[in-house]
């Protein structure tokens, strides 16, 4: 395991009965990076994370956390976790929940410092069971960071958060990475990965199908997006060569294409009054869709 690698799955396979959850997966998490793990439902994201946390054992291959077995409690003392589906004790207040989790770590933040860092001080004395869904996620985030972890696993951290809370969480994540922490983020919000990730790993059918920076992943697909204000009908444009999808938003037409130059020439020839023409490279969302669709075929 390389010195700058904090967590690693090497040739890992895992089956649940007849279902292959992971199929020879190699994945590493490097120092001071935010790694976004993306994939459609059933791609193996949660299984991969559970192997790194020692919650499951691989059938073949190895899972290492800080160069050691994730089953060792000493290893997990460097890790913070925020799970998607967990119901904490509803009777305990937010400060008490953080105090409890902080007690597991050798040098934790005080509950007050953790709450200040995550903007949850106002929730301090509220029973956890009386919080809204978004407030629960904020409290769980405070619990995930209270042990000053070197590696943080976050599973869909912004589900249910309002815009303000989501921006606070993003800012805290950026600050943690700047301070040297590494973060593994699984999310269905591709704009979240696009905004935060230093590196993206795309899983499908238990395999790593692409890995790299957001720009590198976007460059893997040839799709581009054209948008323009035009009177041309959607159904007419949809049948042109190199056009993949067409959507109208009031007067604006959004076209996903495999060859932008050909389609732009066609558009300009077909509509003399065409305005506000924009051509963009595919976003992470389009790249993700294309990459995972190719694997599903």
């Amino acid at each position: 395991m390389k010195a700058d690698c904090l967590a690693q799955l090497s040739g890992v396979s895992k089956r649940f009965g007849k279902i292959v959850a992971l199929d020879g997966l190699d994945l590493d998490v490097r120092r001071s990076e935010l790694l976004a793990v993306l994939g459609p439902n059933g791609a193996g994201k949660t299984t991969a994370i559970s192997l790194l946390l020692g919650l499951r054992q691989p059938d073949t291959g190895t899972a290492l956390l800080f160069g050691q077995s994730p089953l060792k409690v000493e290893t997990r003392r460097q890790v913070g976790v925020m799970m998607q589906e967990v119901a904490l004790a509803p009777e305990l207040r937010v400060r008490e929940q953080i105090d409890l989790i902080a007690s597991y770590y050798p040098d934790p933040l005080s509950p007050e410092a953790a709450m200040e860092m995550t903007d949850t001080t106002a929730l301090s004395h509220r029973p956890y069971g009386k919080l809204s869904g978004g407030q629960k996620r904020q409290a769980q985030f405070a619990m995930a960071i209270c042990g000053r972890p070197k590696l943080l696993f976050l599973d869909e951290p912004t589900v249910g958060l309002d815009v303000q809370a989501r921006e606070m969480l993003w800012a805290t994540l950026r600050r943690l990475v700047d301070d040297g922490a590494s973060i593994v983020l699984t999310t269905h919000y591709l704009e979240e990965a696009e905004a935060l990730a230093d590196r993206v790993a795309v899983l499908a059918k238990g395999k790593l199908i692409a890995s790299g920076t957001v720009n590198e992943i976007r460059a893997l697909v040839v799709r581009k997006r054209i948008s323009c204000v035009t009177t041309l009908a959607e159904q007419d444009v949809a049948i042109w060569p190199d056009v993949q999808t067409v959507n109208r938003e009031q007067q604006r037409l959004h076209i996903t294409v495999s060859n932008a130059e050909n389609v732009v020439r066609h558009l300009l020839a077909a509509d003399d009054d065409l305005q506000e023409l924009e051509v963009r490279r595919a976003g992470l969302s389009e790249a993700f869709t294309e990459l995972t669709q190719e694997t599903q075929r």
Partner: protein
């Protein structure tokens, strides 16, 4: 920086136990019935309904006291573990704690201490009720002996409850726990004398052995020595706790 000194390790166990206690205190719907029901039922039967008869027959008085005392000790162990562990498993809390660096067994140890605390409180209320309104002649030494027996006597019920909690879902746990609880109350013979044909089967139930130990603690010489009962209760605790912990480690 990833090693815990002993002070912090002890603090982690104490914090877990502290918040387990806080949770129980904030759930009076769980705590009050378990604490009040045994002494309440004891007073109803041993004082209000059959007080005169029991005052004439000291042995029967001890029997009724022991029955409700053991009945009180069983509940927190069986339900506190069976239902709570099943719920925490299903809701992901135990999985989260396995992923976090919670010290080994801290959560189970906290629940164990809680059940033992409840066991001792139940026995204390029973002793007070028996000595005051029940007119049972319990000496301080006997009270101290049965308090210790019943505090430790919670353990096999905790182990049984834990085993149920690892096998059942949150929805089915109350039904399974009640099934074992009610069957044990009647089949162990702690509430009423069993017919001769049913006496042999009573010995498979931990409640029977705890009741015998309580009799011995109260000075009875009719039920033989304590060793066999201690061995059976210890074996039940070790076997069911071992099976449950193995299952928790494998499947969470």
């Amino acid at each position: 920086m990833n090693t815990m000194n002993n002070g912090r390790l002890v603090r982690a166990y104490l914090t877990e136990a502290k918040y387990e206690t806080v949770r129980m205190l904030r759930t009076p719907a769980f705590a009050i019935p378990f604490l009040a029901l045994p002494a309440g039922l004891y007073l109803l039967f041993a004082v209000v309904l059959f007080g005169d008869a029991l005052r004439m027959d000291e042995r029967a008085g001890w029997f009724v006291f022991t029955g409700f005392d053991v009945f009180g000790v069983m509940g927190p162990g069986l339900f506190g573990f069976g239902m709570v562990v099943a719920m925490e498993r299903e809701q992901g809390l135990l999985t989260l704690k396995r992923a976090l660096p919670m010290p080994a067994g801290a959560s189970l140890l906290a629940k164990l201490l809680m059940a033992m605390l409840f066991g001792s409180l139940v026995t204390l209320t029973m002793i007070v009720a028996a000595m005051t309104l029940g007119h049972l002649p319990i000496t301080a030494e006997q009270a101290w002996t049965i308090a210790r027996i019943n505090t430790l006597g919670s353990l096999p019920f905790c182990a049984l409850g834990l085993f149920i909690g690892t096998l059942t879902t949150a929805k089915s746990a109350p039904a399974f726990t009640n099934l074992i609880y009610i069957a044990m109350i009647y089949l162990s013979g702690i509430m009423f004398p069993l017919p001769a044909s049913m006496k042999a089967q009573a010995q498979i139930w931990p409640a029977f052995h705890l009741a015998q130990l309580t009799f011995i603690g109260l000075g009875s010489t009719e039920v033989g020595g304590p060793l066999v009962h201690v061995v059976v209760l210890t074996a039940i605790t070790v076997v069911f706790a071992g099976l449950a912990i193995r299952r928790l480690a494998r499947v969470g």
